[in-house]
Symmetry: C2
Subunit: 357 residues, 2 copies
């Protein structure tokens, strides 16, 4: 399996992306993993030299052009020589099974859509799914968290299909439960789009284990495995939760530094607190797939450090090793024929494996 | 000033509502506060007997009918003898300056709208504002958190007007800053309604100190004083934040109980932790006004204990003591004439004070 890495993307570039690839490799048991690191050889090679295990299975695809974090997507589309362009194009060309980038989200979305095309013409752009730790100690999936600003009932159902396939592939649960995010659990609650999607899902959609409406606090409770919502609400819910988690964490930290007695207490509890902190490190949930594309594209947080970036790489590996693309394609085709949704799915290309050795 | 209390509302009824009124009274310095407690005298009188200060300024408006927490709003509208109906009707009749209820939200909304009428015919139903603690140590205002499921640009601007008047009245800040919740800060981000509201607010609306777009994590940062959003997004953001805060709190609590050493540490830090816990008790932010009505209606959480309920009563007192209703009416009239919004404001009635002695 070949993973293309946009080595220049993110706030830290090759220092993090190369080390992150190495960390993901160290967790791999297949022995068949290979990496292509797209970017400036002068910057990548010194990082790679420190990591012999990675060096043995990685090649550098050199380019000295890269997309800045604040570059406009329209401009990024025209620059064919950039590391991100080349990395995505390698998935299109079936030279790689998946691409991972911590770079400019807008450019990643636009380039992925242009080069790989959407599986269904219903989707304005790829949906982003994210991992969301919950009280049950598991990791839920929430989508869309930022791509499609308005979503009709068809799109919400497609998110349910894609979220199910993603959760199965990456979290290993065969029939993940799906909930539609709403302001209440009764059938009459919410706006028209969400009620229509609820009606169709409740009637039964092949392959979707539908639970019903869920509310904002159900995400963290882990009431369902996959929470479906439009990109506007999903993005705001995600950022609100991140802000709230940081706020509460800082309050605890502040309290534990507020008096000498509290500081002594914190010192005694430090080992337990550190263990807890790692268990809810946002980096554990890093790696948001761009769903609905003909090809696997995983977005890492721009500010990710090596461990967090390695988790995004592992998401790409899990997806590439699974039947995820096939599942989505088949499920969408079934949904469309059974419920008369207007999406057209694009026929599957021949497998990447036929081309990459 | 007369505050009508729906003494039967909420999960705990008179035990909490009567004690909460007493606690709000104990913080009042005006010496002019009076309460009318609507509900079953047989249940209210024993509670009141324990609280001589409150008993001296309270009267009981007896009824043995009350609205169940799960009763349908349509049914509640027809039951004129309930404690909630009577309490809201007393505001309509100018026998009280404000009403506070911890009861059935749907019934409270429907009855308030039917009896008091909306100030503008633009609003489908009252907007609910909530207090939101932030990193700056202050309390922000977020609206709408659950009433209007879809909101056009006009409604969002009306929320900005009402949120400004509420924040000024209750939080005491003369020119609170206002942000529109969106998925990014650039002008092109978001759906049509939010971009149109942004365009109008940026041009300048009298009385609104507009900051611009804000994102989910800006709510907890306290980037602005008043965050405006539609009721669907606002409700989900609020419940997601409540769920996240509880989750992170429980993680810390769990960690501090996970080993004997951590438990010893928690014991040393317990005084600092308790102080912190109280500062972010959700009860501190209890009391969400139903905005846009001809009359002051404050909703308390159904599960509120006496201290939390007392904060909702204090919100009602602050609103009733301020020029809040007049401010909203005037600001809406100015907005409508300057920007051609289609809302009609209803002329102000004569002040309650003329009627209640």
């Amino acid at each position: 399996m070949v993973i293309a890495i946009d080595a220049m993307g993110g706030d830290h570039g090759p220092r993090v992306t190369v080390a992150g690839a190495a960390e993901a490799l160290s967790r791999d048991t297949s022995g068949r993993l290979r990496f292509v690191l797209h970017g400036d050889e002068a910057l990548i090679a010194p990082e790679l030299a420190k990591l012999p295990a990675l060096k043995a299975v990685a090649t550098i695809a050199h380019t000295d052009q890269f997309i800045a974090m604040d570059e406009k997507p329209a401009q990024a589309l025209r620059r064919k020589g950039t590391s991100l362009f080349a990395a995505i194009a390698s998935v299109k060309a079936r030279d790689a099974h998946a691409v991972v980038s911590a770079g400019n989200t807008g450019a990643l979305m636009a380039l992925s859509k242009m080069l790989l095309k959407m599986m269904t013409d219903d989707l304005e752009r790829p949906a982003i799914a994210c991992g969301w730790p919950n009280e049950k100690g598991g990791m839920g999936t929430v989508l869309d968290v930022g791509a499609n600003v308005t979503s009709d009932a068809n799109q919400l159902i497609e998110f349910a299909v894609m979220g199910t396939a993603f959760h199965r592939a990456v979290r290993g649960k065969d029939r993940p439960t799906v909930g539609l995010l709403n302001v209440g659990s009764e059938d009459v609650k919410g706006h028209e789009e969400v009620r229509e999607a609820h009606r169709i899902l409740r009637e039964g959609v092949d392959g979707i284990n539908y639970h019903g409406f869920v509310e904002g606090d159900d995400i963290g409770k882990g009431t369902v495995d996959v929470v479906v919502t439009d990109g506007f609400t999903g993005n705001i819910a995600l950022k609100t939760a991140e802000g709230t988690a940081k706020f509460v964490k800082n309050l605890f930290k502040g309290a534990l530094k507020s008096t000498p007695l509290a500081m002594a207490g914190a010192l005694l509890a430090s080992s337990a607190l550190k263990k807890m902190a790692r268990s809810v490190d946002p980096g554990a949930a890093n790696g948001g797939p761009l769903l609905g594309l003909n090809g696997i594209v995983v977005k890492s947080h721009g500010g990710a450090e090596a461990w967090a970036f390695s988790n995004a790489v592992s998401v790409a590996i899990s997806l590439a090793a699974s039947t995820y693309e096939h599942d989505i394609r088949q499920a969408l085709a079934q949904v469309n024929s059974a419920h008369g949704l207007k999406s057209d799915t694009v026929p599957a290309d021949k497998a990447v494996d036929e081309k990459v050795s």
